[in-house]
C-alpha cells in the first residue's frame, strides 16, 4: 500500500513521464485543465495511466469527472486506497 507521499509522488511521475508535464508546475492547487493544459482526450489517457500505475479501476465516472486539481486527484486516489484497505 502507498503512503500519502508515495501516492503523490507516483501521480507526479506519471504526469511528468507520460504527459511530459513540467515537475515544477505540479503544485497541489494546480488545475489539471487550466494550469497544466490537459484536455478531455488527455483525461482518458490519464485514467488509463493511473489504473495501470496503481493497479486499480476508476469506475466511478462522476467522481473522476469532478476532479479538477491535483489535490482532488490525490484525494480520490486516497479514498480508493482506503476503501481497499478496509475491505
Amino acid at each position: 500500500m502507498f503512503t500519502d507521499e508515495q501516492l503523490e509522488k507516483k501521480v507526479q511521475d506519471i504526469l511528468c513521464e507520460e504527459f511530459e508535464l513540467d515537475a515544477e508546475k505540479l503544485k497541489p492547487q494546480a488545475n489539471l485543465y487550466e494550469d497544466l493544459g490537459l484536455d478531455s482526450l488527455d483525461a482518458v489517457d490519464l485514467v488509463v495511466a493511473l489504473e495501470q500505475g496503481f493497479g486499480i479501476k476508476l469506475t466511478d465516472e462522476e467522481a473522476v469527472r469532478s476532479v479538477r486539481t491535483l489535490d482532488d486527484l490525490y484525494a480520490l486516489l486516497r479514498k480508493i486506497r482506503d476503501q481497499r484497505m478496509g475491505s
Binding site: I14, E17, E18, F19, E20, D39, L41, D42, V44, D45, L46, V47, V48, A49, K57, T59, E61
Partner: protein, 496 residues
C-alpha cells in the same frame, strides 16, 4: 494537389466517411495502399465460385434501421438489392459432442419461444437475457433515435463494467449459455471480457433481423464507387503514404508516392497502432502513444473457402442459416493457447443465397500469428517460407473434413478451393497480427476516441466505435460528425 479532406483506407469506414463528406459538398480524396478498393468487403473468385472475405450477413438494414437510413441518405439504395433473411432462418448452434441443435432466430420473440421450449427450466433466465439486451439497446442512439448522441458519447469512452456473463449466471446448461452468447463470434471478445453494453450493441442488431445483399460486400463497394465517382471523389489505390505533415499544430498535408496533397482534415481508418508509422509520435503524449500501440486485438482467423458438390438443400441445409459447431464445455474464452481441434467452427454460404456464387461455402475458425510464425519471412509482406502452401492446404482440408463429418455426414460435400491465414489478413488488410475485427471493444480496454490532439486528424474504422459492417459505418458517421457537426448530421440522416 489540394483537397479539404483525405480519407486513409477504403474499407467500409473509409468509403462511408468519403461519401458523407461528398454528400455535404466537401472535397474529398481517398488513399488506399492495397491495389483494390474495399478492405474486408472485397469478394474474390476461385473456379468460378465467388467468396466474401468479411461480409457474411449484417443487421440494421430494416427500413427504420440506422444503416438503411444512412445508405438512403447517401443515395446507395437504388443500386443495392437488400434481402431480409426469411422467418425460418437462424443461427444454428450445434455440438461436436452432443446431438442437440439450438436455433437462435433473428427475432427476439421467436428466439425466446424456441429457447424456452428447449430449456423450460431456464425460461425466466432466457426472458431476462433478451429483456436486458433490449433495454440496453434502447439507450443506444443508433437503435433509438430519440437518445441524444452527445449524451451517449459523453460516457462512451468508458465501457460499462457490467459483464454480459453476469446476467447468464444461474443457467445450468452450458449449451444454452453458448447459444445465447453466439454473437461473441461477431466481435471477437472472450466471454469473460465482454461488457453488457457492447454485447447488446451487437446482439440487438441481429435479434432484430438479419440481411443479405445480392452480390455481397462487392456490391456494396461498387455502389459506393458509383456515388463517389459521380461526386468527383478521387480514389488512389496502391498508394503508400509516407507521412502526414504537421504545421502550427494542425494537419497540413499528406505525402504519398511522391505526391503532395495539401489538406485540412485527415480521417485515418487503418489500425490505430499503425498511426505512428505516418506521424511523428513526439507530437502526442507518451501515454496516448503507449495506449494505441498497446491495444489488445481481437483474434485472427483461419478461413477455408470451399465448393459444395451438391445443392445445400440436398443435404438438408439452408444458405439462410449460419451453422456453428462447438464443444459443449466451450467457455468462449478463446485463448491463444487452446487446442486447435477444440476450436469452434462456423459454416456460412452467403453467395448461395442469391445464386451469384454458385455453390460455395465458407468455414471459419479462430487462429493466431503463433500458428503461422514459422512461415513469416521477417515480417515482410507477401513473403512466405517454404511449406506455407502445403500447411495451408493441410489445415484447410482438416477443417473441410471436420465440417463434412459434422454437418453433412459425407466426406465429399465440401471441397477445399482456397484458404486465408492470419498472414493473409495481416498483409491484405494492414491488420496487425492479422486481427479480423481490430482492437477489442471489451471491459478491459478503452475504445480510442475519434478525436486526436492533432487538429484536423481524426480516427475511424472498426477499432474506434464498433466492429462489423454496422460498427465501422457508424464509426465514420460519428467521425464525420465531429468535422461537420454531429447533431445536424444525425438529424439529416435519421430525420429526428
Amino acid at each position: 494537389m489540394k483537397v479539404d479532406n483525405i480519407i486513409i483506407g477504403s474499407g467500409i469506414s473509409g468509403l462511408t466517411a468519403a461519401a458523407i463528406l461528398a454528400r455535404l459538398g466537401r472535397s474529398v480524396a481517398v488513399i488506399e495502399r492495397n491495389r483494390r478498393v474495399g478492405g474486408s468487403l472485397r469478394r474474390f473468385k476461385r473456379n468460378g465460385v465467388a467468396f466474401d472475405t468479411g461480409f457474411h450477413y449484417t443487421g440494421c438494414l430494416g427500413k427504420d434501421d440506422i444503416l438503411y437510413r444512412l445508405w438512403d441518405y447517401l443515395g446507395l439504395l437504388q443500386y443495392l438489392d437488400i434481402q431480409r433473411f426469411p422467418d425460418y432462418s437462424h443461427e444454428n448452434i450445434s455440438f461436436f459432442d452432443s446431438s442437440l441443435e439450438i436455433p437462435l432466430y433473428f427475432s427476439y420473440k421467436r428466439s425466446e419461444e424456441e429457447l424456452s421450449s428447449l430449456f423450460p427450466q431456464d425460461t425466466e433466465k432466457i426472458r431476462e437475457y433478451f429483456r436486458t439486451v433490449r433495454e440496453v439497446a434502447a439507450t443506444i442512439p443508433f437503435y433509438n433515435f430519440d437518445v441524444s448522441l452527445n449524451e451517449f458519447f459523453r460516457d462512451y469512452w468508458k465501457p460499462s463494467q457490467v459483464p454480459v456473463k453476469g446476467i447468464l449466471s444461474g443457467i445450468s446448461d452450458n449449451r444454452l449459455v453458448l447459444a445465447l452468447l453466439i454473437h461473441l463470434f461477431l466481435y471477437g471478445v472472450p466471454a469473460s471480457q465482454a461488457s453488457l453494453g457492447t454485447h447488446a450493441m451487437v446482439a440487438h442488431a441481429y435479434l432484430n433481423g438479419a440481411y443479405h445483399i445480392v452480390g455481397g460486400g462487392q456490391a456494396v463497394i461498387d455502389s459506393y464507387l458509383k456515388i463517389l465517382r459521380r461526386a468527383g471523389v478521387e480514389i488512389f489505390t496502391s498508394m503508400d503514404i509516407e507521412r502526414i505533415d504537421i504545421k502550427d499544430g494542425a494537419v497540413h498535408a499528406v505525402c504519398a508516392d511522391g505526391e503532395f496533397f495539401r489538406t485540412e482534415n485527415v480521417i485515418y481508418t487503418g489500425h490505430p497502432s499503425r498511426l505512428f508509422d505516418l506521424l511523428p509520435e513526439s507530437f502526442f503524449r507518451p501515454a496516448y502513444v503507449r495506449r494505441l500501440r498497446g491495444l489488445i486485438n481481437t483474434p485472427s482467423m483461419f478461413v477455408a473457402f470451399c465448393s459444395l458438390n451438391a445443392e445445400m438443400d440436398d443435404y438438408g441445409k439452408s444458405p439462410w442459416i449460419n451453422y456453428y459447431a462447438l464443444f459443449s464445455d466451450e467457455d468462449m474464452n478463446s485463448s491463444r493457447h487452446r487446442q486447435l481441434d477444440r476450436l469452434p467452427v462456423m459454416l456460412t454460404a452467403p453467395s448461395v443465397r442469391d445464386g451469384t456464387g454458385k455453390q460455395g461455402a465458407v468455414l471459419l475458425r479462430e487462429s493466431s500469428m503463433e500458428e503461422v510464425l514459422a512461415f513469416d519471412q521477417h515480417g515482410e509482406e507477401g513473403k512466405r517460407a517454404a511449406g506455407y502452401e502445403a500447411w495451408k492446404r493441410r489445415e484447410g482440408i482438416a477443417l473441410c473434413n471436420k465440417a463434412n463429418m459434422h454437418w453433412f455426414g459425407s466426406d465429399e460435400a465440401l471441397e477445399l478451393l482456397e484458404t486465408s491465414s492470419p498472414l493473409t489478413f495481416r498483409d491484405e488488410l494492414g491488420a496487425p497480427e492479422g486481427t479480423v475485427y481490430g482492437a477489442m471493444h471489451s471491459i478491459n480496454q478503452l475504445t480510442p476516441s475519434h478525436m486526436t490532439r492533432l487538429r484536423g486528424l481524426y480516427l475511424s474504422g472498426q477499432s474506434i466505435l464498433m466492429t462489423g459492417i454496422v460498427g465501422a459505418s457508424l464509426s465514420s458517421l460519428v467521425t464525420v460528425g465531429e468535422i461537420v457537426g454531429k447533431e445536424s448530421l444525425w438529424e439529416r440522416i435519421t430525420g429526428s
